[in-house]
């Protein structure tokens, strides 16, 4: 008897990390060896990439919230999905002081045109209102990458 298993790309990548040699071989035969070689920063450039990576539904219209808040909530969702994608499925435990939570830090510069990444910072025992596990990444380099690559989405989340 044959049965077909459907596996999302994001799930396959996640399983590959801890798979037995036999299962790794099976995954490589199915998705190709190169599929598991590319790093997250080499495959996520757009919101659509992040949505595919995480398997999350596309950005909701947020019709449930008042009209003036919809764009804000959409931008939060986008930033959240980007963060999830760069964390490759690993959730951050905010109470674990040994684990740093990195996030991009922006310079407002007084206008939308001059807005840009200032640096990446981290928290371990403290955290600011509104940040937390959903908007922090595990690696400092990735905080800088998402701050530059998804600058407009972060600006929307911060300013709308």
């Amino acid at each position: 008897m044959k049965k077909t298993v459907q596996l999302e790309e994001s799930k396959a990548r996640s399983m590959y990390k801890t798979a037995s040699p036999e299962f790794k071989q099976l995954l490589e035969d199915t998705f190709g060896k190169d599929f598991f070689k590319t790093s997250v920063e080499d495959r996520i450039f757009t919101i659509e990439d992040a949505i595919t990576e995480t398997g999350r539904p596309s950005v909701p219209d947020f019709n449930c919230v008042p009209t003036d808040l919809r764009d804000f909530f959409k931008s939060v969702y986008k930033c959240l999905v980007v963060t999830e994608a760069f964390n490759e499925g690993e959730r951050i435990d905010i109470y674990n002081e040994d684990k740093r939570r990195h996030y991009p830090y922006f310079l407002n510069n007084g206008s939308a045109s001059a807005f840009g990444l200032y640096d990446a910072d981290f928290g371990s025992a403290g955290s600011a209102a509104g940040s937390g596990s959903r908007l922090s990444v595990l690696k400092s380099d990735n905080a800088k990458i998402i701050g530059e690559r998804f600058k407009n989405e972060f600006r929307d989340m911060l300013s709308l």
Partner: protein
């Protein structure tokens, strides 16, 4: 002093009062992925609390002369709570945007202590 007393009178004590003061409706986030509902509900509650405390005034994110206060929390499962408040003028870190900041330190402190559970849930996600 009188002004301070009046402000304190208007301050919401519960999330429900914040909704009344801000004039915002309650929202059903059931169309979102199951694991994200609570996060977005608490973000919405945080916005409504902040709006009620800011008495309708929305921070101008590009205004350098306007201080934007936010709470900084001690992250501990058993003792989560306000660590201190800080303000930003030209900088901002992910998650500390104009929807979640106050105009003065005292209000930011009040928000963090009175509505600790909401902020905690936002942190946990």
């Amino acid at each position: 002093m009188k002004k301070e007393k009046e402000l304190k009178k208007k301050r919401p004590v519960t999330v429900e009062e914040a909704f009344q003061i801000a004039g915002r409706p309650t929202v059903d986030f059931s169309n979102l992925p199951e694991d994200l509902k609570s996060y977005f509900e608490n973000i919405y509650n945080g916005i409504v609390i902040t709006e009620a405390l800011n008495e309708g005034r929305k921070p101008d994110w590009d205004n350098w002369s306007e201080k934007k206060w936010r709470a900084w929390f001690r992250m501990s499962a058993s003792a989560f709570g306000l660590r201190h408040t800080i303000y930003d003028i030209t900088n901002s870190h992910a998650g500390s945007g104009s929807r979640l900041v106050n105009f003065d330190e005292e209000t930011a402190e009040y928000s963090a202590t009175q509505f600790k559970d909401v902020w905690k849930e936002i942190q946990i996600g």
